[in-house]
């Protein structure tokens, strides 16, 4: 254990595997921050594998994997391991960048690729031209001229791609720190709140108290709210209504027309779409949820005890479930609401509830309760009644505009609108996330496709013919096939610049008209496609 253990590649792989296993667990087991109701159902044994397993899952923190200490510990270990691995690599890279010069060679030896040609130009001229050509191609150069007592021949040594590959890999790895910093900063500085609005109501102002649910980051104060106002003017929702059409019942539109009053400035109208959130002073407003908002008026003994739009949510079965809570009545009055948007009458005039979501024949079904609503005494959501201390007074169904009397209460259903749930979030970390993504991608590309290579240009006078023999040879540390092409380009340019005679090798083996595959070649044979050019290499290295 210890530092050396942490800096090992193998350790990083184990840690990554642990991370992967955890994310699999988190996919298989419902996560409390995402679906608290499902987790509650698992804990109670109503769903999932049972109470016993559930307790075991709780004990290992499987209901909140990403918030568990183990997850954070693995993540921390991974980052330490990454740091331990990167520090020496960065040091080595800096050394490389500062000190590396292409080496001058005594003889070329065996290289990956090599080309020769002859020219009338003098060797010095060839070397000058080579320098120009290579400089234009952004190689790093080192010129070596003949010196007394130096056995190394005059040459131009060049190197390229030395920093890019390793540098790209380093940037790729460093992007994870930016990512982490952005996420941590996000946890501290963001704010996220949810609020529902009914069409045409007074809207709400961006203050800490006006949200239905409110999750500020640690460093997000109440004073950080901008104080704009949002009103929902109209909400558009539609579906494919033809039951025989492909995709029948699928929604086709979710769109809010809203009116925004910024903290400073004139009010303006805007549209919020599923993929087009609204930005107000750097705060983003996204559509999250929607439902029908029936207005339900309850009168008891001629006195109005409840007159608001409800915000019921869609339940399985195609109806919207909500509740009326009227503590002003004596005793308390509660209505358990089931809103069927499309429940047309059959021939006898009996409403038939369907699962269709369009409000062409809305039917408000409810069960009336009297007793104690236990408001404040128990935890309950606005759409749910706590019926423990309530007594049912029976069911009733209302069409839009109808009203009904049950006991001393009169229930009226005068109006139906939509309500939309908005998520409001302030996310200052987003630019840093983008930076991390750009680093990751750029670094990845460089580390995969940049390649380090060296080449040498050697021009000598051929004693026999008196012409200058030019050899260009080199090797690539990665991607040799790309290098061959590059070397040929360099040679072509150089021979043109020096009036030399050189012809590009007549195609690769695959270029042949009749490309018989080398597939039946014995396993250990050297690649045959090189054989036609190996003679040339020998000339070059002689």
């Amino acid at each position: 254990m210890g530092w050396r253990w942490l800096s090992r590649m193998r350790t990083a792989l184990y840690l990554l595997a642990a991370l992967a296993v955890m994310s699999i667990i988190a996919t298989a087991v419902p996560q409390e921050p995402n679906v608290p109701s499902t987790v509650a159902a698992w804990r109670a044994g109503e769903e999932g594998p049972g109470v016993l397993v559930s307790q075991a899952l709780d004990a290992i923190g499987a209901y909140d994997v990403y918030g568990s200490g183990l997850f954070l510990a693995v993540l921390l270990a991974l980052y330490i391991s990454l740091t331990a691995c990167l520090i020496p690599r960065i040091k080595a890279w800096v050394r490389l960048v500062r000190h590396s010069r292409p080496p001058v060679v005594r003889h070329l030896g065996a290289q990956n690729a090599s080309e020769t040609f002859t020219t009338e130009s003098r060797p010095e001229v060839v070397h000058d031209r080579a320098q120009e050509v290579l400089e234009r191609r952004r190689w790093r150069l080192r010129r070596h001229d003949d010196e007394e007592g130096d056995k190394r021949p005059a040459q131009v040594a060049a190197e390229k791609g030395l920093w890019a590959r390793e540098g790209g890999s380093l940037i790729f790895h460093l992007s994870f720190y930016v990512l982490l910093a952005a996420i941590v900063a996000g946890q501290l500085l963001t704010f996220e709140g949810q609020r529902g609005l009914v069409e045409g109501d007074a809207g709400f102002r961006d203050t800490a108290v006006s949200y239905w649910s409110y999750n500020p980051g640690r460093f997000f104060g109440e004073g950080d709210h901008d104080g704009w106002r949002l009103e929902l003017e109209r909400f558009h929702v539609d579906w494919i209504r033809d039951p025989l059409a492909p995709g029948a019942g699928q929604p086709t539109e979710f769109r809010s027309e809203v009116r925004v009053t910024p903290a400073e400035g004139e009010p303006f109208d805007a549209v919020i779409d599923s993929n087009r959130p609204l930005n107000v002073d750097g705060t983003r407003i996204t559509q999250l949820d929607w439902g029908y908002a029936p207005r339900v008026v309850v009168e008891v003994d001629g006195e109005v005890v409840h007159d608001t739009f409800l915000t019921p949510t869609l339940a399985t079965g195609g109806f919207f479930r909500g509740a009326v809570k009227a503590p002003a009545a004596d005793p308390d009055l509660g209505l358990d609401i089931f809103l069927y948007p499309f429940a047309p009458d059959d021939e006898d005039g009996t409403p038939i509830p369907t699962g269709a979501p369009w409000a062409d024949a809305p039917l408000l079904v409810f069960e009336q309760y009297r007793g104690d609503l236990r408001l404040g005494a128990t935890q309950q959501t606005i759409n749910q009644l706590d019926t423990d201390a309530l007594e049912s007074e029976g069911f009733a169904a209302l069409r839009l505009g109808q009203s009904i009397e049950i006991g001393d209460a009169t229930i009226t259903f005068p109006e139906l609108r939509h309500w939309v749930g908005y998520q409001v979030s302030s996310r200052p970390q987003v630019p840093f996330l983008l930076l991390a993504a750009a680093m990751l991608l750029g670094g990845l590309l460089a580390s995969l496709y940049a390649y380090r290579r060296r080449l040498w240009v050697l021009a000598t006078v051929d004693e026999v013919t008196g012409r200058t023999l030019v050899t260009v040879a080199g090797r690539a540390f990665q991607r040799p096939e790309a290098f061959e092409q590059e070397l040929e380009d360099v040679v072509e340019e150089l021979s043109e610049a020096t009036g030399g005679q050189w012809q590009r090798p007549a195609g690769r083996p695959g270029d042949r008209d009749d490309p018989f595959p080398p597939s039946a070649r014995p396993p250990a044979a050297p690649p045959a496609e090189r054989s036609d050019r190996s003679d040339r290499t020998e000339v070059a290295t002689r």
Binding site: M9, L16, L19, A20, S23, I24, A26, T27, A28, Q31, N34, S169, E192, A245, P246, G247, Q250, P251, T252, E253, F254, S274, N275, R276, P277, R284, T286, L288, Q423, S425, V430, L433, L434, A437, L440, L441, L444, S447, L448, Y449, R508, P509, G510, D511, R512, D514, P515, F516, P517, P518, S519, A520, R521, P522, P523, A524, A525, P526, A528, S531
Partner: protein, 411 residues
Amino acid sequence: MSQDQLAELSRLLYSPTTLLLYISAAFVYLYALTTTVGRREERERGVRARRVGGVLAVLGITAHVAHEIARGLAQDRLPLGNMFEVTSLMALVGVVVGLSYLQFSRRRPELNGFVLLGGSLVLSMAMLMYSEPGPLMPILDTWWRPFHVSLLVGAMGIFAAAFVFNSLYLLRDTAERAVAAERSRPGSGSTVGAAYIGDVADGGSAGTQVDADAADAGPEAGQHDGDGDHDPDEEQERTELLAYHAALRRGVPAVKLAVGTFLGTALVSWVWLVSADTLAAGMTRFLTVNLTMVAAALIARWFVPFLPSTATMDGLAHRTTAFAFVMWTVGVIAGAMWAEVSWGRFWGWDPKETGSFLTWIAYAGYLHARATRGVKGRGAAWIGVAAFIVLMGTYLIANYVIVGLHSYADL
């Protein structure tokens, strides 16, 4: 043409047209591969066969593209909205990119057959998830979708091609090792493939050229074949070569390969077992997929002697994986950006997000293993195969088993 007719047309273009064209092109190419060891006239037949295969493949791709267009017109949107469409496009991208890469970039057209075979498999898999054309949910109706989805689908297709190369590498390598082991066993007396073995032990990259070049030296070297009257040397060489081929095939135990493929496929295909409505339906899908994969593996085994060198396939697998990995990364980042806009958070460990993360980790592991010297050859190839299992597993699980925010797929 009405939308219904277009839908009908797109279905016919897909199956049987595209499917049959791909499969027949694959088999013609594979046949062409077997002629490379034969006599001159046999090889000429091979060249002709390859031309036929090329025509069939191009026709198949044309039909496939036409299917995508017809389907797009029939539903008035890009065909990238559900599992069938995504899988079908994955096959198209895999085939087009794989073939162009082999044909024009790497100049290894003899491997086309395997890419087409892989494409046919993915195409038939898509048939298991067929759904009629239909419109999209509004949240999907944005330019983010084609961008995000097509990148990931393209990457999946190329990962599939890389998987083919990795599998072929493992087959060939196993066969070569077995032959080498048989040779070196003292007292075995086997001379099978003696001329072909060279020095396999050090990875097959070094070694000496043996003189039995008749098989691969191309037309120039083959000219002394004459007009069909064969001299005894020629016959002798041919016999030796065939014996070597047989030994290579023996090197991959068929039963072991079949069982291994079945179990390996089962690592992914169990999803159909658990997600189907009835056990019988699930079992049918499960067995169909598994047995098809076993058949493909056995076909590939028969072609082991005709495969190019292990180094070639290793390189192909690496380059394709690297390319697809970049695509995958861009696709995931694009998805995160879309999620940030549409859902108000860039990452939420939704099943598909987790799946894409796991796949990314797996392929990063492959590239890392290759880059940091530790693992090469077989080790890397196995990691590549495992990564593909992760890819297909998370793809199916996130679509069939676990419901998440990405569950738009019309099953």
